[in-house]
C-alpha cells in the first residue's frame, strides 16, 4: 500500500502545469485586484465588506488550487487543506456565536 502511495506522490511531484495556466491565473488575480479597488469606491452599505471578502476568498482559492498545486494533488492533501479551512470556520463561527448573542441579555 505504502509502495503505491509513494509512486502516486512521485507522480504528482512531476505534474507539470503549463505557463498558460499560470498566466491565466495571474491575470485573473490582477483583474480581481482591480475589481476590489473599483468596488471600494462604490458605497454598497452592509455589502461593502461582503463583496471585498468574497473577491479576496476567490483569489485565495485560485492561489491555493493552482499556484499551490492543490487542484492536482491527492485526496489526502486536499483533505489536509480542507481541515485547515474547517478549523478556520470553527474559529469564525464559534467566535461569532459570542458576538451575535451578546446583546440578547440574560437567559
Amino acid at each position: 500500500m505504502s509502495q503505491h502511495g509513494a509512486t502516486e506522490l512521485e507522480h504528482q511531484e512531476h505534474h507539470v502545469v503549463g505557463p498558460k495556466v499560470y498566466l491565466a491565473v495571474f491575470f485573473a488575480l490582477m483583474i480581481c485586484t482591480g475589481l476590489t479597488t473599483w468596488v471600494a469606491f462604490i458605497d454598497l452599505g452592509v455589502l461593502n465588506p461582503v463583496i471585498a471578502l468574497a473577491i479576496a476568498c476567490f483569489k485565495a482559492c485560485l492561489v491555493v488550487l493552482f499556484f499551490m498545486h492543490i487542484h492536482y494533488s491527492s485526496k489526502l492533501l486536499k483533505l489536509t487543506v480542507a481541515s485547515g479551512l474547517f478549523i478556520f470556520l470553527v474559529l469564525v463561527t464559534m467566535t461569532l456565536s459570542d458576538y451575535i448573542s451578546r446583546a440578547w441579555g440574560l437567559w
Binding site: A6, I87, V90, L91, M94, R102, W104
Partner: protein
Amino acid sequence: MSSTNTIVQLPDQSTAQLPRKHYLNQEHTLKSWLLTGDHKRIAMLYLFSITFFFFIGGAFASLIRLQLLTPGSDLLAPDTYNKVFSMHGIVMIFLFLVPSVPATLGNFLIPIMIGAKDLAFPKINLLSWYLFIAGGLFILAAMILGGVDTGWTFTTPLSTHYLNTHVVTAALGIFIAGFASILTGLNFIVTIHRMRAPGMTWFRLPLFVWGHYAASILMVLGTPVLAITLVLVALERTIGIGVFDPTKGGDPLLFQHLFWFYSHPAVYIMILPGMAVISEVISTFSRKRVFGYTAVAFSSVAIAIFGFFVWAHHMFIMGISNYSALVFSLLTMLVAVPSAIKIFNWAATLYKGSITFETPMLYAFGFLGLFTIGGLTGVFLGSMGMDVHLTETYFIVAHFHFVMVGGMLMAYLAGLHFWWPKMTGRMYPESISKLAAVVTFIGFIFTFFPQFVLGYLGMPRRYASYPPEFQVLNVLSTAGASILAVGYLLPMLYMPWSLKYGKIAGNNPWQATGLEWQITSPPLTENFVETPIVDHEAYDYEWLANQTEHEVKTVG
C-alpha cells in the same frame, strides 16, 4: 496466550555490551552535531535546550514561592513579581512544555517506532531546533533587558496600551518558537503517513505514535492563530493599529478569542504526548496489551478535535454572551469523555497484569493520580457557576499545575527514564531514581494541593501579597516546592552520572515490544540494518516471548 509467557525475566545485564558504532559516536565534531540531520541527535539537542529552559523557568518558580512565603511583598517589589510570574509562565509553556515530549522523545522515537530511518524532512527538523533556539534567545533577551509583565497570556489592552516592558521582544520569541512547533508537527504527520514500514498499519502503531499524531494536528492547525495574534499585539503596540484596544476602536475580547483558540488546544499539545508516553509505560510494566487499544487511539484524536471547540471557557467572566458561554460550557464537558476513556483503559490494562514497579512506572502512577485530580477539577472550572467563583484564583493555578506538572512533567520523566537506556545505552541508577519519583510526587502534592484550598477560600492569583490568614497554606506550598525541587534536581545529577557509570542496558532492558527495543542501544545512525517487516500487533507480548533472537546482533 499462556500466562507463563507474559512474565518475562529481565535479561542478564552482565553480558550486555555497547555496540561499537552508534549514532552518538558516529562522528564527534561540534559541526556534526550542529548540522546533523539525524532525528536522534536533534532530539538530544532539544533535550539539552529544554532542560536549560526548564531550569530558568524553575528558578522563576522558586522566586514566586519564596515571595509568597510571607503575606507582604518582602522579597520582590510587586512589579518585579509580575515580571517573575510572567517569565515563569512564558518560559515553562512555550520553551519547555510544548516541545518537551514531542521534540525530544517524539523526535527520537517516532521514526524508530514506525520502522523508518529518519523523519520525512530531516533538514526541516534541524531548522525547527534552530527556530526554537532563536525564539528562546528572544525570550531570554526580553528577560535580560528588563522582563515582561503581561502574564503569559499577553492580555490586551494591558499588553498593547498600558505596559512599558519588553512585550514585543517576548511576543516575537514566542512567534518564532511557534514555528519550531509547527515544523515538528508537520514532520510527524508526514512521517507517520508516508514512512511506516511494510506491515505497520495504522492500528499496529504504538499508541505513542497515535498520541503524537493527534498533538501534531493541533500544532499545525492551532499555532498559526497564536502567531498572527501576537503579530497583531506587536503591531498595535508599535504602530497603533486598533484591533484589541478599545480606545483605538478595537475589541479586547477578540484578543481573548484568538489567544485561547490556540492556547486551549495548546494544553492538549502539551498533554497528548504525555498520555502517549503513559500508554507505553503502563503496557510494558504490566506486561499486557493496552486495554481498548482502538478506543485509546481514537480518544487522542477526539481530544484533539474537541479541543478546538471549548476555548471560551477561559472567558466566562470576561463579559462574553451568556448563550455562547452556555454552549462552550456544555462542549467543555465533552473533553472529559475521551480523557476518561484513557484513564479507565489504563486502569483496565493494569487489571490482572504482571505489574512491576520500576521508576518509569512509578512516575506513570504519579501521572494517573495527579492527572485525574487535575482533570476532575477542570470539570469544576468548566461549569459556569463554579467558574465565576474559582477562576483567577489559586484554584485554577492548582488545576493547571496538576495537569501540566503533575500530569505532563511526570509523563515526561516517566518517558525519559523509560527510554534513557535506548537513548544512551546505559541504565540510570534504579534505587535513587525511584526515590526521586517518590520525592517528586510528595513534593508536588504539598506544593499544589494547598493551592486548591487557597483558591477556594478566595486567594487571587498574580498578586505579590495576600491577607495574613492565607499564610499557613502558602508556607505549606513553599515547603512542598523545596521538596519538589529536590525531586527534579536528583535526575539532573544521576542522569549525567549514568552516561559514564551506568550499567550497560542491552537492547531491550524492559522486554518491551516496540520496534525501538528490537534494535541496538544506542541505535545506529540508520536505526535499522534492514527495513523491518511488521507482522504482529502492537504490545504483542506473546510475539516477543516467542522471539528466540529478537535482539538484533551488534553491528560493526
